[in-house]
Symmetry: C2
Amino acid sequence: MTGYNNEARIVQAIDCLVFGFDGETLKILLIKRGFQPEKGKWSLMGGFAKMTESLEQASNRVLKQLTGLDGMYLEQLHTFSEPNRDPVERTISTAYFALIDINKYKQQLNDDYHAEWFPLKKMPKLIFDQQEMVELALKRIRYKAALHPILFELLPGRFTIPQLQILYESVYNTKIDKRNFSKRVLSTGLLVKQEEKDKSGSKRGAFYYQLNMQKYYAKFQAFLNFIPNPTNLIS
Amino acid sequence: MTGYNNEARIVQAIDCLVFGFDGETLKILLIKRGFQPEKGKWSLMGGFAKMTESLEQASNRVLKQLTGLDGMYLEQLHTFSEPNRDPVERTISTAYFALIDINKYKQQLNDDYHAEWFPLKKMPKLIFDQQEMVELALKRIRYKAALHPILFELLPGRFTIPQLQILYESVYNTKIDKRNFSKRVLSTGLLVKQEEKDKSGSKRGAFYYQLNMQKYYAKFQAFLNFIPNPTNLIS
DNA sequence: AAAATTAATTGTATAAAAAACACTTTATTT
DNA sequence: AAATAAAGTGTTTTTTATACAATTAATTTT
């Protein structure tokens, strides 16, 4: 047998939603399209699956090109398959979202792809069904981050509790009591206090913390509580 | 422009994981393959996406053929894309899982597709990467059912609390205290007590309950607690 | 008709977790 | 030395979860 007869063969795309955090707000990395259709418009970074690679490999390849980074947090989001989603021809796209430390992002690659970080509230209109992808990714991130420590992927190796709290407040667009927040995150046992302080944000300075990676992996699947009243915030 | 040049075109499959509950154990619906490759082996029900339908449409079409049912709970699970997952030719398969009331299943269609319900513990070896799909679906179901009322999709319109408890105990392979279970599920406010009793399971009989569908949809996304110590049970 | 049987139903006390709430400390700047 | 500004910390209250066993209802048996 040399293949399935009479079955449709369809171009398989991947789209990568790259999120970063600059200390104030959650951002998404977009590129200005240098080709038709929709040349000049802002778009997610994407590509097509080659015949001999998995979609995970394709996504990592595309992300490496765009960001210069390997081994980032990457999760399959959803496969989008509306027949007319791409005006050029029928394509099916599997969307992946990545969470990266924005500081590791290689600025020099910007120029190759005309890539730019956008705060989510100031994001331009995107092509095709990409707006829908972003909304779904945000839902997934809010849902998952309420229970699992994924937002640490957005921070550098060392971070302070106040920085972490600003991240959560930014993702959920809410204010959190700092006494309870501190208790919640420290009670997970995932954080290791460092001796040094970050003096950039205040006179007094805030102690750095690092993730205990053993515990991080061990407890990743557990139901942890990172935000108060999660049900009110995830929808 | 008439299409993307030089991009691979790949057969896009869908696989459907159909779960049911017979009052004792969780079951999965398999078919005996009537064609090559792997003819005669047990397999998930699947098919190929046509050029003008979405994968959701393809899944619903296949499920209608297999079960005779429309409008069942259906959720995209994951897209499987290892280049060599299908020995016939490169295919990418998006797996969906369905939860159905096993009593609505049309027995007469069995013969057309040689379909059969298997308790998960007695499931035969499956072809290709379908074993992996089943394991991932079970993980997803256990995860989601700990927080959201999806298991009600497996029950008929009227059911008793003891029946519901057996379902949860079966899905999580655990024993649950019936006093606390009853309190938990009733505290969601999703259940409406009926006047009639089910006399089939005991001398005394157990009151039927029905879902309040308004509240079901309204609270579906909320974090509810259906099982004790969920973290110990989902992995 | 009474007694036995069997599963359904229900309640309380205790423990743990979450939420509400404000003052003290530290280091720098004035 | 005083003022400033953010970091850090504790307690009380409320809510939720857990552990645990006796009673009730209907049928079956004697």
